[in-house]
Structure formats: C-alpha cells, structure tokens
C-alpha cells in the first residue's frame, strides 16, 4: 500500500513541490550580499539603498533594498521608487516588505532599455516627504536569454532520466 502510494505519486508530488517553491514570488527577496550601497537623504529622513545587482542589463529584475534609519522607521515612512529613463520614460518599482526584515522595503524593478537611468526614491512619513536618487547605468540585454540558459543548463537531466529508467528496470529484475 505505502509502496504503491509512494511509487505512483512520488514524481507528481515532487513536481508539485517544485512548482510551489518556484511560485513563491522572489520580488521581496534579494541576493545574500549587496553589490553597492547608496546613502539616501530624504528630506527629514535618511537611510540607505542597497543594490544587489552588480551589473544591470535591460530586462533584468533589479533588486534594491531600502533601509530607513531608526528615526524614519519610527515615523512610519512609506517609499516610492521610480526609474527615470534617458528619453523621459518613467517606470514604477514593485514594493514589498523585506522578507528578512519587515522594517525594510524591497523594490523590484525591470528596466527595458539600456542607458543611464536615474533611480528616484521618495519617502513619505508623519514628519513630511523627501526625495533622493542615484544614477544607474543599464547595459543592453544579453544575447543568451535566461530561458535559453536554463534550457541548456537542465539538459543533462535527460541523461539522468535515461539512467534512472535503466536502473528502475534493473531494480524490477531483482527479486528481493
């Protein structure tokens, strides 16, 4: 009974689990170590913007963590993040509380075109509003897309699947 359940449902259950893991939106997450740090002077508040992408390409998810200082946290600041493009384009970032520290804000931004973009951070709280920003150079989109990269990277799994099938046949031929 147990054997039947596990051997029949193991692979679909694992596929569901992987889907679950990949479905978790990484918008509020970021790499372990920031690549750059920018001080922010936002009117009555101050803080830091941590950039987790060392190189930014057009189409990449840009991860910025906004860390308000203690005063700004007490004032309950809310952030807005926008990217101002060289041709006048404006893109608003998706914001979420940081997964590791709810007092910080994680911004997720996709810039579609190369060029020098200005990242503008606006903080609004009980003691007023203030803005600051920093310049972000964006490279052209890479020739090898993320999808193509993953397709190449996971291709050895075909060999693993073939090997697993061979071993399963061997296992069935063993009478224990």
């Amino acid at each position: 009974m147990i054997k039947r359940i596990v051997s029949h449902w193991a692979i679909p259950a694992m596929a569901a689990l992987f889907w679950l893991l990949s479905a978790g939106p990484p918008a509020a997450a970021h790499n372990a170590f920031p690549a750059r740090e920018y001080p922010l002077h936002l009117g009555p508040y101050s803080g830091r913007a941590l950039l987790f992408n060392e190189k930014v390409n057009a189409g990449d998810h840009i991860q910025i963590l906004l860390v308000p200082d203690a005063l700004a946290k007490r004032a309950g600041v809310q952030f807005q993040v926008r990217a101002l493009g060289p041709a006048g384009a404006t893109i608003a970032a998706g914001l979420a509380p940081d997964e590791n520290d709810r007092g910080n804000t994680a911004a997720d931004l996709v810039i579609p075109a190369q060029g020098a973009w200005q990242i503008q951070v606006t903080a609004t709280g009980r003691t007023g509003t203030g803005s600051d920003g920093f310049l972000l150079p964006v490279n052209p989109a890479p020739a090898l897309s993320q999808w193509a990269g993953w397709a190449i990277a996971l291709s050895p799994l075909l060999g693993v699947a073939w090997f697993a099938l061979q071993q399963r046949r061997l296992l069935r031929s063993v009478e224990f």
Binding site: M14, E54, N57, D60, E99, L154
Partner: protein, 417 residues
C-alpha cells in the same frame, strides 16, 4: 590471454583458460580501483574547492575565472573526467579481446561502440556536464556580475554535473565490492570490508556538492511566500537530499549503523570545511594583497548551510531499522516501510533541532551567530506559520528521497558492471 587461429580469412577466438580469465579480471579490477581512488582524491579536492570558492566569492570577489579556488575545483574535475574517459576507451578496446578481463560481465554498452563500467561512464558524463557549464558560467558572470546567485542556470548545471559524478563514484566502488564478494541473499548483512566501507563513505560525500544549492534557501529566501502563506525553504530542500544517502547506506550494507556512519563522515567533512574555507581564503587574500569586500562573511559560508544534525538523522534511521528487525524477527532491510518511516522521522528530528538552534541564528556546535535569526524582523505569527508549514512540507520530499534511497541501495547491492 588473447589468441586466435586463421580459418578461411576469419579470426576465430580460441577458448581461454578459466584461470587466465580470472587473473585478467583481477588485473582489470586493480586498475579500476586505482583509478577510482584517484577520482575520489580529485573529488575531495573539488569539494574543498567549492567551499573555498563560495567563501572567496563572498569575501573577496570573483575577479577572474582563474582564481585559486576555481583552479582547485576544476583540477579535481579534470582528473576525474580524464581518468573516466581513459578507462572507458581502454575497456572499449579490451572488450574486443577475449580473455582480457573485460567482458559483458563487468561492463555496460553505450553509444554503439563504447564499453565500460557504469560508474566510470556516469562519472565521465557528470564531469563533462561540469566542464561544459564552466565557460557558460564565466559568460553568465560577465553578463550579470560577480554576485550571481547560486540558483543561476550554469551554477545549477555545474552542481548537477558534480552530483552525477559523485553518483558515478558510488557505482564504481559498489561494483568492485560486489565482484569481490560471492553473491549473497538479499537480506544478509554485508561484512564491514574496506570496499563496503568506501561505498558508505562515497554516499556520505555525495551530499556536499548538491547541498551548495541550499545557500539561497538559507540566506536569500529563508521563507517561501505564496499569497498569505509562508513556509521555511531550507528544511524542505534538506529533506529532498538527505534520506537518500542515509537509507541507501543501510540498504546497501544490510546493517544497522551504516546511516550513523554516513552522519559521522558528513559531520567530519563539515567540520573540516568550517576550518578550511575561511582559512584558505584568508591565507590567499593576504598573500595576493586582496582586500575584503564590505559585506564579507566572517563565518564559513558553505559549512554553515550543511545540516548540523546529520548524526542524529543517521541514528534515527538506524533506530527505525533496528526496531523493524526486532518486531518482525527477521532482517527488515529489504522492506520499504522502515525506509519511509526512517526517512521522515530523521528529517523531522533534524528539523526540530534546526528550528530550535540554527533557524534562530546560531549553531550549538560552534556557539556563534551564523544566520540571521528568523525571529528578527518577523512577527511571532509569521514565524509560527513558516515553522509549521515548513514541518508539514518536509514529509513529501522526505518520503520521495527515502524511496529513491531504498531503490539506490538495492541496485548498489547487485550492480557488478
């Protein structure tokens, strides 16, 4: 001994004396064991190289492909890959010579004209995967920078290659252990011979490479959030990898104690990495006048994400097998039930200790803070939900991993090629 007589333009092999064949097979076995030992040393260098490399990336940076940790990592890969390829080419030639000690009894047939031991073929495939991943990975770093996450396409490809190579090493040693001993009934325990011990050791050292994938689960995405729900990512991933080796060890040896031995060996490796990775990084950074990055970790990065309680997991698995054998009055190693129960209970025990200790940011073994405590920055309700759901979600991957481990252990008992 190879011999033939010419008969109307056709070579007809003469029968070869059985003792000559046995001597040739023994010679072939010796060659395979020497090469397997060299490959194991190469893997050892690569495992240390990976730990050092991750530490170097985080502490100093990835200034070029030819950083010392990469050279150590890839030298091990090249040793393993070249030796695997050499043996397969040699065996493909010898297979055609009767009495050479290479036959269908100790090789498998692949890609039309190649013959070789399955372990060397699998290992060669893994090393090829890793070597193909290397230039792509270098390109990826140039595109996305030095801080590309471990869950990037060509990191995953490289880790997949290393895991395949590790599996190949296990098959190499298991087939040697099986051919060295007379066939025995399935449930009969194997003796603690050096070869059987090496299979258990190879199982313990299968984990360090794929466990590098745990880094983001511990440091970047400690919780996975789906709508209003959140669960711990790390223990779910540990449960996918760990029971496999613990169960396979007991299943292969047919002995209670094998899973604990895997736990001990893994922990020994973990302790070595705790010391080696920061020490090598510091030593070389000083020698090369490199400066540390602003957020350089002071703790051993890779070792911090290796499960701290593998010995406990091994003890639980062995305990379940021991109880099953006592209850049935017969060896229980061939039954799937203790494998599944043991796998799940081991993971729950390890997770309970992790939840109390590591998930709170420190490790009892080292008495220092490694991870950011989950309780910091989250309200207690969120922490409780992540812990509870994380605990429940351990069960499916633990069952899957235990099932795979039971299958792997069974195959390892019989593989002779």
């Amino acid at each position: 001994m190879s011999a033939g007589s010419v008969q109307v333009g056709r070579v007809v092999p003469l029968p070869v004396a059985a003792e000559d064949t046995q001597a040739a097979e023994r010679r072939e076995s010796r060659v395979r064991r020497v090469l397997a030992a060299c490959i194991a040393l190469g893997f050892g260098a690569s495992i240390i190289g990976v730990g050092w490399d991750v530490q170097w990336h985080a502490a100093v940076g990835r200034d070029s492909f030819f950083i010392p940790s990469h050279l150590m990592l890839y030298s091990g890969v090249i040793i393993a890959g070249v030796l695997s390829l050499a043996l397969v080419l040699r065996d493909s030639r010898l297979w055609r010579k009767p009495g050479s000690g290479v036959s269908d009894a100790n090789t498998v047939h692949v890609l039309g004209r190649f013959y070789g031991p399955i372990g060397f073929i699998v290992c060669g495939f893994g090393m090829l995967t890793l070597l193909i991943a290397a230039p792509f990975d270098n390109d990826w770093h140039e595109l996305y920078g030095i801080d590309v996450t471990v869950w990037a396409a060509f990191h995953v490809m490289g880790i997949l290659g290393a895991a395949i190579g590790g599996l190949g090493l296990i098959y190499m040693v298991a087939s040697e252990a099986n051919r060295a001993a007379a066939p025995r009934p399935a449930a009969e325990p194997r003796p603690w011979s050096p070869l059987n011990g090496l299979v258990v050791a190879a199982l313990a050292f299968l984990l360090p490479a794929p466990m590098v994938l745990l880094l983001p689960a511990a440091l970047q995405w400690p919780t996975t959030e789906i709508g209003p729900l959140a669960f711990l990512t790390y223990p779910v991933m540990v449960a996918l990898m760990t029971p496999l080796v613990l169960i396979a060890a007991v299943r292969f040896t047919g002995r209670v104690g094998a899973a604990t031995l895997v736990g001990l060996l893994f922990t020994a490796l973990r302790l070595a990495m705790v010391w080696l990775a920061p020490a090598l990084t510091s030593l070389l950074a000083t020698a090369l006048h490199e400066t540390y990055r602003p957020y350089a970790p002071e703790y051993p990065l890779v070792a911090s994400i290796y499960p701290a309680w593998m010995i406990v997991g091994g003890l639980v698995v062995d305990g379940v097998y021991w109880l099953a054998a006592r209850r049935s009055g017969a060896p229980a190693e061939h039954s799937l039930r203790p494998a599944l129960i043991g796998g799940v209970l081991a993971m729950l025990a390890m997770h309970a200790l992790d939840a109390l200790v590591v998930m709170n940011g420190w490790d009892l073994l080292w008495d220092r803070v490694w991870w950011r405590p989950l309780s910091m920055g989250h309200d207690p309700g969120y922490v409780a939900m992540a812990l509870t759901l994380g605990t429940l979600l351990i069960v499916p991957p633990a069952l899957f991993s235990a099932w795979l481990g039971n299958g792997l252990g069974t195959v390892l008992r019989v593989v002779r090629q």
